[in-house]
């Protein structure tokens, strides 16, 4: 009974989020384009699937993964766990290495499961005629997010200013843009934005706030933010890096083949 109520509530709130989008789509289709929607029945069934799928997905996250993720973030940042019971001394940044590892692993695994990234990867494989594979893109983005969040947790622990990291990241992105294959550039820029939605944001926010409230001298209000910014910047670099690596390997193989002839 309780579960049913939960499903109904979540379904309603998902519906409220989808409604403006549906209104815009159908409004423009009927009033501006003035044509019937092709395969209307299939599109409506698809919408139903999206709605139901998102609802179940969110309930599952809320019920299972978030509480556990939050609990683990608290436990890992607890000084009693880091130093062992009964020991007390000033903590240094290198005492938190389990946290960095957890941040890396969480960043990677939540990104691989991210529904919006799956959507973009399907599209990219389709229009690139298979040159960009769904798994290649997803892995590259996931590695980027993992490095980003790990570095972001280090920033919270060390208390260094956020904008230095971001500005340095921008400079790297600009340099990579000059050398990366032209085909990947727009997709790489996009992959910064798609990583941070349904799954990643709540888990990462919990980690940041947990960390900022247990590390001495940090305020959760001022230092807890910023992990999302890291998670949206680093995939840009890793996706361009992935394309540069594939290009370099293809070139090297081509060179070998030529020598072989």
């Amino acid at each position: 009974m309780e579960t049913l109520q939960l499903i109904l509530d979540t379904l309603l709130s998902t519906l409220r989020d989808v409604l403006p989008i549906a209104a815009i789509l159908f409004g423009f289709q009927l009033l501006v384009i003035r044509r019937p929607i092709p395969n209307l029945k299939k599109v409506l069934i698809g919408f139903g699937y999206v709605l139901l799928g998102l609802t179940l997905f969110l309930i599952g996250l809320e019920e299972a993964l978030f509480p556990l993720g939050k609990l683990m973030a608290e436990q890992l940042t607890d000084p009693a766990f880091i130093l062992g019971e009964g020991v007390s001394r000033v903590l240094h940044w290198d005492d938190y290495w389990w946290v960095y590892l957890f941040a890396f692993a969480m960043g990677f695994s939540t990104t691989v499961a991210e529904p919006s990234l799956i959507a973009v990867a399907i599209k990219a494989q389709e229009v690139s005629g298979g040159a960009i594979s769904v798994w290649g893109l997803r892995t590259a983005v996931a590695i980027g997010v993992a490095i980003g969040i790990a570095l972001g947790t280090y920033r919270i622990v060390s208390g260094t200013p956020l904008h230095y990291y971001i500005i340095a990241g921008y400079i790297v992105v600009i340099i990579q843009t000059i050398y990366a294959p032209k085909m990947i550039v727009a997709l790489a820029y996009d992959s910064g934005g798609v990583t941070t939605s349904t799954v990643t944001v709540p888990l990462v926010t919990a980690l940041g706030l947990g960390l900022a409230s247990t590390v001495p001298g940090r305020s959760p209000m001022l230092d807890g933010f910023g992990l999302i910014a890291f998670a949206s910047l680093f995939p840009i670099m890793s996706v361009m890096g992935y394309a540069q690596l594939s290009q370099w390997r293809a070139r090297r193989n081509g060179w070998r083949d030529n020598v072989g002839e």
Binding site: V50, G53, F57, L58, A64, P115, I166, S197
Partner: protein
Amino acid sequence: MTLSLPTVLRPFVASVRDLAPIIIVIAFFQLVVLQQPIPNLGSLLFGTAMVVVGLTLFVRGLEMGLFPIGESMAYAFARKGSVFWLLAFAFALGFGTTVAEPALIAVAAEASEVAAVGGMIEDSEEARQSYATGLRYTVALSVGFAIVLGVLRILKGWPIQYLIIAGYSGVVMMTAFAPKEIIGIAYDSGGVTTSTITVPLVTALGVGLASSIKGRNPIVDGFGLIAFASLTPMIFVMGYGMVIG
């Protein structure tokens, strides 16, 4: 036996494969590092099953509903040839999907707390409420603007990197002038704007437009809308912080 897996089960297997890393990470840290039993194992298994079924349905629905309609609308606008209506649609899509975004509502509420504690605004319920609402509309406006700019880029064929570099310079310049309290939130607001339903739709729109306009390549020109949508909110939110502060 495993070779002849029923077609119905195949998407579920894909979802399980997608979620396996999260489960492995949690199990490893819980059992090996923290060495604590997993609390509420029953509800955890139930939740995981829901996530698997949900993800399967979502991906299926995406391919049946959202992708085709996004693309067919892009083609229809390209045939119609009315730039005004295309841009109006782009703005409505960006603004409408962002204003209702749950992640943004949560971040705006948190940001208003920070502002009240930091003394940027008066510490009252009313002041916080108006600050959070202002922030939400600022971000929604900036996403609407971003999608319009992105669609214009596809129409005109401008190279994306110049626009992105200009955007980065904007962010860096604003950082120098914006109040310190807003910077973290501004940087984060770029990431939270693009929701699970917006992303597939906007991607389908961009790719559909680029493939229906002559001389545009869907892979080079079709992507990039989301990149703008995650960059402009940073500039706009810092601007909002300067106006309020």
